[in-house]
């Protein structure tokens, strides 16, 4: 039965009121109006409690389903900080940044930025980079299937033209640099009982994340090789990419001999990260 004093909302107003009350930490001021629209057979006193409980089912469903989805996307972060801390962070994140797409496979990219600002995790400086790794791992896991190219086909290219070649990377290829051993942290936390990693004795990584067949690969590249692949991924020719790699190595006073180019390319071919080559006119 309709209450005589309540203005009946149109669909837009109803959905806005629901939305406000589903994501908020506490019930929004509109919650009383909303709950007065619920059918009840109880007295006024009891029906107010009943309304809160009925609304709470939806509030819990929304927050629980989204924060558990985030937990499925960031299992290593969850393991590192513990369930309670993760759930608190996830709920806060969900409220700040609900998904923009119904397919949750791609949800939570900015969780890596959020987690370093989350009070309880502020001293865990490596968490953000581990979160980036987990996000990219998941993207690679679901990325499109494309065959890598057979390097033998390069034999059709005249030697003097090789430097002008560009390559297409497998769509899963992501390059992630970190001052923390995020690959070791990730691998260790796939185990039931992870061993401790002493972060004082470790060096940074230049990670290549991509999928080979159905399996996601984490490869810690030599820094020069990482830079070379970075340039090739952007569509530079071999000559341009190598020049940039040499320049960056010189600036950083890193050892790099010109003979190393063919070895690096051969190594990248063996990883099967390229799907095609192109010779621009």
């Amino acid at each position: 039965m309709k209450s005589p004093n309540i203005q009946i909302p149109n669909i837009k107003e109803f959905q806005l009121m629901m939305d406000e009350n589903l994501l908020s930490t506490d019930l929004a001021p509109s919650s009383n109006d909303l709950m007065s629209l619920f059918e009840t057979k109880l007295s006024d006193d009891e029906s107010s409690d009943e309304g809160k409980l009925r609304l709470a089912i939806y509030r819990n469903n929304v927050i629980h389903s989204l924060s558990s989805a985030l937990g499925d996307l960031y299992p290593v972060i969850k393991k590192l900080v513990g369930d309670d801390c993760f759930n608190a962070a996830a709920i806060e994140f969900v409220r700040l940044e609900p998904p923009q797409h119904a397919a949750l496979l791609h949800y939570g990219k900015s969780f890596s930025e959020f987690i370093i600002e989350f009070e309880a995790c502020k001293n865990l400086h490596f968490l953000s980079d581990v979160a980036i790794l987990e996000f990219e791992y998941n993207q690679a896991y679901h990325s499109a299937d494309v065959q890598s190219f057979d390097p033998q086909t390069l034999s059709t290219i005249a030697p003097e033209q090789l430097g002008d070649l560009t390559f297409s990377c497998h769509p899963s290829v992501k390059l992630v640099q970190s001052m923390w051993p995020i690959d070791d942290i990730w691998h260790e936390n796939q185990k039931e009982q992870p061993d401790l990693i002493n972060l004082d004795d470790t060096t940074g990584v230049h990670l290549l994340i991509y999928r080979l067949g159905l399996v996601v690969q984490l490869v810690n590249l030599d820094e020069n090789c990482f830079i070379l692949l970075q340039q090739l991924k952007q569509g530079m020719t071999i000559n341009q990419a190598w020049a940039e790699t040499v320049e960056q190595a010189t600036l950083a006073q890193r050892q790099l001999e010109s003979e190393e180019l063919s070895g690096m390319l051969g190594y990248l071919f063996s990883l099967e990260v390229f799907t095609a080559f192109n010779l621009s006119a």
Partner: protein
Amino acid sequence: MSTFMSKPIPALAGVGLKPQHFQSILEKKSHVNWFEIHAENYMSGGGIFHHYLQLIREQYPLSVHGVGLSLGSHDGVCERQLGDLKTLINRYEPGLVSEHLSWSKQGKHHLNDLLPMPYTQEAIDVFVNNISKTQEFLNRQILIENPSSYFELNYNEFSEQEFLVNIAKKAGCLILLDVNNVYVSSKNHSFDANNYIDNIPKELVGEIHLAGHSVQSMLSGEVRIDDHGSAVCDDVWNLYQHTLDKIGTRPTLIEWDTDVPSWDTLADQAAIAHRYLTNMSPLDIKENS
């Protein structure tokens, strides 16, 4: 482009496809005759999910069940979501495509739940408009599933079954009759579940869903939660029998989405549905498997 011919879904038992079961499905025989996927879980380019879905689709008919199109949204359906759904449909040529009588999107964000609607003329117009656009875009008829709900609005102008039937007739879509949802809502809102079923014209029903639900206490009473986390209960099996008596056999799906059980446990639920659909005794099932 798809390599599949669209296979109609038979009036037999199917189950919701879960990654945990990929391998068992390909290795074991069962009374599961078809599979249903949640569309959003496959809105990606490739990888292991598509690898197995491809293999399973080669052997079984498939139904695509969307949970995120938000057909009840006042501001229309998301075009990107529709596009992704069409890509998936073109890839796997499902026998059935379904969605919900609910909403889940507000502005640009998604709430990932099947939220209730007021049952008013304005809401009928919203659904008819969104369903018509969807069917036009996908170039096919879809089915709409009745929701479970935990509150009713006191300004409803229609009962849920009147509302659902009205929309299906106006939009030219079919109904996915979720018998567990009818049961859950009938308990939560004290209406007669048999009467609900009796008022759905049988020619509008294209598929049936069955699932488990849980019971929570609330004040002096209880509330039933549609969590898809257990076996189908006896009352729901009885209501299913009533449904089959009234409308005849239809493709029937067992949904089990949380606390996902072993493949054998899920396949056993499908075998029970198979028994209802083919009117066989449990003994016949054992001998045939």
